[in-house]
Symmetry: C2
Subunit: 133 residues, 2 copies
């Protein structure tokens, strides 16, 4: 009857936590009020504050004083969080097949030619990187 241990660091974000991290990644940093505004203002001020304090306890963000308020700064990088999340999905849902993942992604949404071209370039770069070593 243990429940899960508090994630002292490293794993994943819950929905609300991800909402908040998303704002910080996009803006670079944010005070409580700024984050709350970016979320549309439909959550209470103290709720956002509490989430930020919990995220700090998990070492996902830190803060520095700015006037009377705190400015919160992400410590975890979005690319790292994204890599973890993608690994989880490709393993648990697509049985390790990146091809199936990509197929699901492109079928899910209509991408422009430019987007598809850029994705192709990503694959080209990956291949070139492979070849030259």
């Amino acid at each position: 009857m243990t429940g899960k241990p508090r994630d002292g660091g490293r794993k994943g974000f819950t929905d609300r936590e991800l909402d908040i991290m998303s704002v910080l990644w996009r803006e670079g940093s944010g005070t409580v009020a700024e984050v709350r505004d970016a979320l549309g203002g439909d959550v209470g001020y103290t709720t956002v504050l509490k989430m930020l304090q919990i995220l700090e306890e998990k070492e996902a963000v830190s803060h520095e004083r700015e006037g009377r308020a705190y400015r919160y700064i992400p410590l975890v990088e979005s690319v790292n969080a994204g890599g973890r999340a993608l690994r989880r999905i490709v393993n648990k849902i697509f049985h390790g097949s990146a091809e199936m993942l990509l197929a699901t992604l492109v079928e899910d949404r209509d991408f422009s030619d430019e987007e598809i071209q850029r994705m192709r370039s990503v694959l080209d770069r990956a291949e070139r990187r492979r070849d030259e070593e």
Copy 2:
């Protein structure tokens, strides 16, 4: 002080739930004992049963009798769950950029030439699908 409502259907899976759904997707179906074995046997029988009952309550699986036991069958398809999870990630972490997502994916792991070729084919198909309509 509300907490989140129990997800009566549709959204996402928690870690353990995903472990279990992953087994059912891979095997097609499973009894409690089969799922438990597939997970490595390091969780209690009643834990697995309970999770399956919760998943059934969420309408992610159903069951039919098989001898004295129940056989659980996934109702949610992996591709749908994958699509939802990918949308969440691309929006919240990669700010809507599928290119960034793909770049993170291919940098995270070393793919073989065959895998990269297959991913390229996925993009080709997507483009062809776009052109012919």
